[in-house]
């Protein structure tokens, strides 16, 4: 059962979150100051929110949350599995919309958006089919590639950064609250961890904190670089991180934005495959008689089908879905359920 290492788990959780930062909030609601404050506070909240999950892991290190609930109550277990799968589909739907928007906005004459997300779905299906180990190993290499392109962009922009470009505004309380709420809706690690922790060989609980720390560092650095380089252009830019690439130049490559594109695609593909896998594991826990790969196919088709109307109609942001519905799912599945089931007797082989 134990297949992936602590480091791989950290990378998986990190990459799942960093996708949103690469888009750097395609739909900016408030200025950078509020965003960064809201982000910092939300990270602190997330550190607390994961505690029930970690306690659950320590009690039942070899069983994911669906299995734990299924053993206690079959009906509730099946319901939990279905809800997990639904949540995974919603997260993938949001990812497809955001990624589709990115392709639509930055490369409008490239390929039809429906084809772009279709191919991402197909490759992600193949990855999820191969299992968690294949995804984890690919995530390691994706992380290295992402880190390398990130460093190259920053090095190329060193000469163009200036502190005089930084203009901050006093944050407004309402905006900060909004940012906390929006940031929380992006914390999809709450769905990943309860399903994937049985696969981690060691220190699974600490892996969440590792991912949060890594996320914190990266987001701060990206935000700082964006602000120092782009200045107030940040307020009107759709994809600031990508615009950094547009502005960066080296003597070999004229512009680095198309260099960032592969990193972005890889991150999107890793995240999609992770959530497909999560949905598959959840459903196969609840419905043991059906082959798990059938669920995988169903989930892939469902996620694509659900995203298709919005993509074709160019409705990239569905506020209610992206913020409210997903947040509810995350809190219920990632915080409340573990909180309820983390009490009681654990398994014999409790994690230390």
């Amino acid at each position: 059962m134990r297949k992936i290492s602590f480091g791989q788990m950290v990378i998986i959780l990190f990459l799942s979150r960093i996708f949103y930062t690469m888009t750097f909030i395609p739909f900016m609601y408030s200025d950078v100051t509020c965003q960064i404050i809201g982000f910092s506070i939300c990270t602190a909240i997330e550190c607390l929110a994961v505690i029930p999950m970690i306690v659950l892991y320590k009690k039942h290190p070899d069983k994911n949350i669906c299995q734990v609930i299924y053993e206690k109550s079959k009906l509730l277990g099946i319901l939990t599995c279905v809800v997990f799968a639904l949540a995974a589909v919603l997260v993938i739907n949001r990812l497809f919309r955001y990624f589709g928007y990115f392709v639509y906005a930055m490369f409008p004459d490239f390929l039809p958006t429906w084809l772009v997300i279709g191919t991402v779905a197909a490759v992600s299906f193949y990855a999820a089919f191969q299992g968690i180990e294949a995804i984890a190993r690919s995530a390691g290499i994706t992380f290295a590639f992402f880190g390398l392109s990130f460093i190259i962009v920053i090095l190329a922009l060193l000469g163009k950064m200036s502190f005089s470009n930084v203009i901050y505004d006093y944050p407004k309380f309402d905006d900060i609250l909004h940012e906390i709420y929006y940031e929380l809706s992006k914390f999809s690690e709450l769905l990943l961890f309860p399903i994937l922790y049985p696969y981690v060989k060691e220190k699974a609980g600490k892996s969440v904190y590792g991912a949060l720390a890594l996320k914190l560092i990266f987001v701060y650095v990206i935000t700082a670089v964006c602000v120092l380089t782009l200045g107030s252009f940040l307020n009107i830019s759709k994809f600031p991180f990508f615009d950094l690439g547009t502005y960066a130049e080296t003597f070999i490559i004229e512009r680095l934005d198309a260099f960032l594109l592969p990193a972005w695609i890889l991150v999107a593909f890793i995240k999609t495959s992770l959530f497909l896998l999560v949905g598959k594991i959840a459903l196969s826990t609840g419905f043991k008689r059906v082959k798990s790969n059938v669920f995988l196919l169903v989930l892939t088709v469902a996620a694509y089908a659900v995203s298709l109307p919005s993509v074709l109609q160019e409705k990239w942001n569905i506020g209610v879905l992206d913020k409210t519905v997903i947040t509810i799912f995350l809190i219920v599945l990632g915080v409340l359920l573990p909180l309820v089931f983390c009490f009681g007797k654990g398994d014999e082989n409790e994690a230390e």
Partner: protein, 442 residues
């Protein structure tokens, strides 16, 4: 066993039509319509864009593009010839004008490599221009944006023989000028950033051409700032261009279409280097002379070259600058090797006082004694002070324009004042005093 074999066969049968469907949809996307893939030679590689306004308030867009003058597949680019040509069109909006250019040439414009956006003196409102370029597909944020004292079309029509195209030469001139302070930062992103922060204020350098009279002596135009913005090109314009069409694309337009004007010359900021005269040769070089102060996204006034140098000192944009210091009857040059700026913001008697202390390290071009060095250094410092003061007098006192990053200083030092500035920048700028002190280091 048989069922398993059937299932496997079914799986394989399904895979084939799925693959065929995928390849078909991919190919059909590539073959038609919006997603049709164009090879690199089927695109107009635009080096520079020029924008002028007609009398009717329409946009005349000039695209300078690659047209190779090679002699065969082994030497596709012949560097001894100018490998560029221009195409111009007039339309109500910039995208429409570009589209007409594309129609004329039968190719799609590729703006990803455009290095320069040149605004003619007829351009009086930057709003639609900036709106277009912020959202334009492929435009790099590092593209230079500058004004010219004539029409952008004329500048872009000039053929140069060093470098491959005039935009390349212009870019090199801008880069070099930025280093020695004769030009301000003129990247698109910096203009947008300034405009966002100051409610529409920025500084754009002015590019001019050196005219060569028939006796082959190079003369610059009178560099006094008497450009009249809003003037459109009249029919009897000074620069005549030949009506030779560049590409076989047909189509008439509201004004003349592409033309390659005869001319020659290479870049050189002040000295008119290069020759290359031809039948109508008037131009031998470009040079940067002064800058336009843009306020409320409209060109307001013109700064002279000295004022721009002063501005560059104040904004810390100088790498090397040769400063002339008068020692008695002789003029001596010293180089400012490095400039360190220290700024303090304080409130005194209701005035916002910005104390700027510049520590300039000098390098001497001649051998001086210690005493002479000090004297020269002092003279140079006085000169720098004069330049800075001229810039302040021009921009702040005369035009009340925030081109000294005052908004940034206020934001970092006194947020309350900054908030007032955001509400009413004009009032705040009237209360600003900038005191410059120079600390020469030898």
């Amino acid at each position: 066993m048989r069922m398993k074999r059937n299932r496997v066969c079914l799986k394989k049968l399904l895979i084939i039509p799925i693959c065929v469907l995928f390849i078909f949809s991919l190919s059909s996307c590539n073959a038609t319509g919006k997603y049709e893939k164009r090879d690199i030679d089927e695109k107009i590689i635009v080096h520079a864009l020029g924008i002028d306004m007609t009398k009717e308030g329409k946009f005349e867009v000039t695209l300078q593009m690659l047209v190779q003058q090679g002699t065969g597949s082994n030497t596709p680019i012949d560097p001894s010839k100018a490998n560029s040509a221009t195409v111009s069109q007039v339309a109500a909006t910039i995208p429409a004008a570009i589209e007409q250019c594309e129609t004329d040439l039968g190719k799609k414009a590729f703006l990803g490599h455009s290095e320069l956006i040149l605004l003619g003196k007829s351009v009086t409102d930057l709003n639609p221009i900036l709106e277009y370029f912020i959202n334009a597909e492929g435009i790099s944020l590092g593209t230079f944006m500058a004004y010219t004292d004539i029409t952008a079309k004329e500048i872009l029509n000039i053929k140069v023989t060093s470098g491959t195209y005039s935009a390349e030469v212009l870019k090199e001139i801008f880069e070099e000028s930025q280093k020695n302070g004769t030009s301000t930062e003129c990247e698109l992103i910096r203009h947008i950033d300034n405009i966002e922060n100051t409610n529409g204020t920025t500084v754009m350098p002015i590019i001019k051409k050196i005219k060569n009279d028939k006796k082959s002596s190079n003369e610059k135009e009178d560099s006094s700032s008497d450009i009249k913005f809003g003037e459109t090109e009249s029919d009897d314009s000074k620069n005549k261009s030949s009506n030779e069409k560049v590409e076989g694309g047909g189509g008439s337009s509201e004004s003349e279409s592409s033309s390659q004007s005869e001319g020659g010359g290479s870049g050189g900021e002040e000295s008119g280097s290069g020759g290359g005269s031809s039948e109508e040769a008037e131009v031998t070089a470009f040079y940067i002379d002064g800058a336009v102060i843009v306020k409320d996204k409209k060109p307001k006034s013109v700064m002279s070259r000295d004022e721009v140098i002063g501005l560059s000192f104040l904004n810390n944009g100088i790498a090397e600058q040769t400063i002339d210091a008068k020692m008695g009857d002789t003029l001596t040059s010293v180089s400012a090797a490095s400039v360190k700026k220290q700024t303090d913001v304080s409130l005194k008697d209701g005035r916002i006082v910005i104390d700027v202390n510049l520590t300039i390290a000098y390098e001497f071009n001649k051998t001086f004694s210690d005493k002479e060095q000090k004297e020269v250094g002092q003279k140079a410092a006085e000169r720098v002070h004069t330049l800075c003061q001229e810039a302040i007098d021009k921009a702040l006192k005369e035009d009340n324009a925030d081109i000294f990053e005052i908004h940034s200083l206020l934001n970092h030092n006194d947020y309350t004042v900054y908030e007032e500035y955001k509400k009413n920048p004009e009032e705040i700028l009237k209360r600003v005093d900038i005191n410059v002190s120079i600390n020469p280091q030898i």
